[in-house]
Symmetry: C2
Subunit: 319 residues, 2 copies
């Protein structure tokens, strides 16, 4: 997205005095992420991303996000490390916004995942779930199962404007997911590991990014979300069982699913597809058609929601 | 500005096969320029800017722009060089848009110029004017003096919505600039050398960028435009004579103004300020207030227009 909060060369020079990362040699706003102002910063000592957090992010949780990604970088996961200032502090303020400097990592976002890339992201997700075993601070999921009815209400009865069939599809999914597998193991989860949040080079994961929806929730819900994001065509019309098999094999290699988690996968997939249908529906109904933002089609996830509603665990595993 | 035309990793990989610049290791849309989709591209062989030209640019003139910047890079000016493909061609097509890969140059855009930086840009402008002496292909200025009345009409009588005084200010400037110094020397000129189109490091110019308004026009008109862009506070309220003196000294060191050009500076300044007032007024009246674009205040240049209308040549030189 565009840069919402401008940062001048003078602002930047003063800000960098707090750090031990040199002086700026290049500084460009980047059209990345959907919520914050991001800049690619090159200094005499390296390359970094400067993020100014805008209102859409849960700014109260920024210390938690930064602690989590620092924890993951410490565990040698491919997660960009927050850079601390001379006093050891990562979270700063710049131009009245919370701000942080983050390590730059090479890599290119996947768009249409291959089987090999689906395997790699499965491995990385399992490594993530292994690495958070000793990350004990919890954060509630503001977009979790207990919120979906309120998220539906928030659309003010206008969901039928998107597609006349959509209100009925959502009602059915709300009813089905009322039976939610709350007894499954919980963990710190990413909940948004879409291809555009994974950087890769030659099929290898070099960066897991955008942890700003991370929270504590059912661990296998994260698997289901990654499955929904990687194993369908973008419009949700086509299921790629070969990618699903690769994702499952990759995850099994680094973490693995229990029998109870496997049994719950169709319900978890239905739930995560409902969550993205609802947030996209709200954005669709509240984004001016002429805004310089590409609105994401809620139906792409409503179709996934229907698929999971009729799926068996084996189908989710691609078996 | 935002990225208008998305480029996927797969699109990019195929596109790069045409070149001898390696494979992508990083690729990020950048929020830079007001007209095109720009990406910062890092490959195994170096760093580049990939530009997809959108409708606002005069695409018929792209071969001319690329020939000009290649000419300037050949002359060792700090101008990013267009990269040619294996067949020696710079102008390509990508996702149905004209596209070019351009050399990346380090440096940070100035925001509030210092006296030293004003001197440096004066030197660079003079070097530019020296380097185009043997660049003989001409391009008309679509926003030049002969167009200003039509540009006023295009605002449909709505200019008073911006400020009740503005229509009268514009009419006076239109009348004054009807007496235009057409006998002055003509040259290839940048016509948009604002601080955000100049990259600097430690007060040294490392990049002159964004030549997409370059054309053939009165050479000293380029000096006047640079003066208007560098020697006032952004809102046009404050004139910085110290910067004007430094700009004049820098330009004198690398090129210099004739007595006739100096005599015409107030009129040329009035004209360039009118041009920016008119384009900003049109954009102001035709940009939705809720668009994710910062509208630039036309009055900032209307104030400069009034200043030049009352200025002497010595005042423009900061003498």
């Amino acid at each position: 997205m565009a840069v919402f909060t401008p940062v001048t060369a003078a602002d930047l020079a003063t800000f960098l005095l707090r750090y031990n990362i040199g002086t700026a040699t290049s500084f460009k706003g980047i059209a990345e992420g959907v919520q914050n102002s991001n800049f690619l910063l090159e200094t005499t000592k390296g390359r970094f991303i400067l993020t100014l957090y805008e209102d859409r992010v849960d700014t109260a949780a920024l210390p938690w996000f930064l602690a989590l990604t620092t924890h993951l970088a410490d565990k040698h996961l491919p997660v960009p490390r927050p850079i601390v200032d001379r006093a050891g502090v990562a979270l700063q303020t710049l131009n009245k916004r919370p701000a942080a400097v983050i390590e730059f990592v090479a890599g290119v976002s996947v768009t249409e995942p291959t089987v090999e890339q689906s395997h790699s992201v499965g491995v990385a997700l399992g490594q993530l779930h292994a690495a958070v075993r000793d990350f004990s601070v919890e954060r509630a999921n503001n977009l979790g199962q207990t919120h979906w009815r309120a998220m539906t209400t928030r659309c003010n009865g206008r969901i039928g404007e998107i597609d006349p069939a959509l209100p009925g599809m959502i009602d059915a999914a709300l009813a089905a997911t009322a039976d939610w597998p709350n007894d499954l193991a919980r963990a710190t989860v990413h909940t948004d590991l879409f291809p555009d949040n994974v950087l890769m080079l030659d099929g290898r994961v070099t960066g897991l990014i955008d942890f700003y929806f991370a929270c504590t929730d059912i661990r296998a819900f994260d698997y289901a979300t990654t499955h929904a994001a990687w194993c369908f065509s973008p419009d949700g019309q086509t299921y790629h069982a070969d990618r699903a098999r690769a994702l499952a094999a990759g995850y099994a290699a680094s973490h693995g699913l229990t029998a109870a988690e496997i049994a719950a996968l169709p319900r978890l997939g239905q739930g995560t597809a409902l969550r993205f249908t609802l947030t996209r529906a709200y954005d669709w109904l509240n984004t001016p058609a002429d805004a310089l933002v590409t609105r994401k089609d809620p139906m792409a996830f409503a179709r996934r929601m229907m698929w999971y509603g009729a799926a068996t665990p084996d189908m989710v595993l691609g078996a």
